[in-house]
């Protein structure tokens, strides 16, 4: 009986100490882990949508609260700031639009006047070789220099973006995502001042 009690106490003690140490380590490494994830997963697309800057946009990022999702959890967006000589010269942030197979996430680079400096598809699951061709530069470069206006639409709807042939739904998803991103722009601009 004494032995049983001892086993329970020792094992419980060891597990409790282990949980304590791991919880602490998890807290301490949280910020650098997030930084590394952004640096290696999102940095390539951030770099491609921003133009001249001399800072580290991943370090100079701000997290903006974006209301709540349909389950009531708070949503937030990472906004990456590009600075040159301490002055903000561009922003990059992600938005999503519904494609043919699911959400298409697009990283959008915007300069302080609200003009697009570049877009890059970060995640998509469109049909390979068909819808997935929206990631190609020949499609994404059309967005460069556009603002939130009527021309930011597919040409079939009177805009100036030519859809990838045979992939109208995917192309529309990208346009929706970019438009969503630009609709957020005044709010983000107000936040960063």
């Amino acid at each position: 009986m004494r032995n049983l009690v001892r086993m329970i106490i020792v094992l419980t003690g060891i597990c409790a100490c282990s949980a304590l140490v791991l919880a602490y380590a998890n807290k301490v490494t949280k910020a650098p882990r997030e930084y590394q994830l952004l640096k290696y997963v999102q940095a390539p697309s951030i770099k491609s949508v921003l133009t001249t800057y001399d800072n580290d946009p991943i370090k100079d990022r701000i997290v903006l609260k974006m209301g709540k999702d349909n389950k009531g959890r708070p949503l937030s967006t990472n906004v990456f700031l590009a600075k040159k000589g301490g002055k903000i010269v561009g922003l990059a942030y992600e938005a999503a639009g519904m494609g043919h197979e699911g959400l298409i996430h697009v990283m959008v680079g915007v300069n302080p006047d609200g003009k697009i400096t570049g877009i890059s598809i970060t995640t998509q699951s469109e049909t390979p070789g068909l819808g997935s061709r929206v990631t190609e530069p020949s499609f994404t470069k059309q967005f460069k220099g556009m603002t939130l206006s009527d021309s930011l639409n597919l040409s079939a709807k009177g805009g100036k973006i030519d859809a990838v042939s045979g992939a109208t739904v995917s192309s529309k998803g990208v346009v929706t995502a970019v438009r969503k991103a630009l609709e957020l722009f005044p709010k983000i601009k107000k936040e960063i001042g």
């Binding site: 032995n3 001892r6 086993m7 020792v10 094992l11 060891i14 597990c15 282990s18 140490v21 791991l22 380590a25 998890n26 490494t29 650098p32 882990r33 590394q36 994830l37 640096k39 290696y40």
Partner: protein, 198 residues
């Protein structure tokens, strides 16, 4: 045995995975390059040294019946620590090793040393044992990874080392290459030992 002997036995006499044929899963799976081999070796050494240290300190408190469970909790905690810090400060390596980082928990070398050595010996010899076996394991992984990288890719630490017309043997980077390489090194080491004795 002296402390130095406890340390050096891990470098030749009991070097894993060649002499103690344990920890084969990690050895075969992650040694596609010298860098991955060393990364895996260092992570394993960290876990081995600290779990040996802690288990040796607690050896009089842990009841015999639950010792394996207690050892596994201690080992698993250090593995998660290693995983978290790797993710935070060595992300590309973490990505390259993938699932094999959490799998260090079930690496038989660590549980083997805990059960066969640390649970029966004082702190200092356990520390020397862990360090020796860990460094031995790192050297072995580096050798296997290096050979596979040179033959399978023509590079060492991503630097080209072979002549320019060298055609890499892609099979060395695949699982059969790992078995080939491990088996040949094992044979070579046995040959050298038998010559020494005879």
């Amino acid at each position: 045995m002296t402390l130095t002997q406890e340390f050096t036995k891990g470098l030749w006499k009991e070097i894993p995975p060649f002499r103690l044929v344990l920890g084969i899963c990690a050895t075969l799976a992650v040694t596609t390059s010298a860098k991955n081999g060393i990364g895996m070796g260092v992570a394993t050494t960290f876990v081995l040294v600290f779990s040996n240290l802690l288990i040796s300190m607690l050896r009089k408190f842990i009841p015999r019946n639950v010792r394996i469970a207690a050892f596994i909790v201690i080992i698993a905690s250090f593995v998660v620590l290693a995983e978290l810090y790797m993710q935070a400060y060595a992300y590309p390596l973490y990505k390259a090793l993938g699932i094999f980082v959490p799998l260090i928990v079930v690496n038989c070398i660590i549980l083997g040393r805990a059960e066969a050595f640390a649970s029966k010996n004082p702190v200092l010899p356990s520390l020397a044992d862990g360090l020796g076996i860990g460094i031995g394991f790192t050297i072995s992984l580096f050798v296997v990874g290096g050979i596979r990288e040179i033959i399978g890719h023509g590079t060492l630490f991503s630097v080209p080392v072979m002549w320019s017309s060298f055609k890499p043997f892609g099979v060395m980077l695949k699982p059969p290459g790992a078995f080939l390489c491990l088996g040949l090194i094992l044979a070579l080491m046995n040959f050298i030992s038998s010559r020494k004795k005879g």
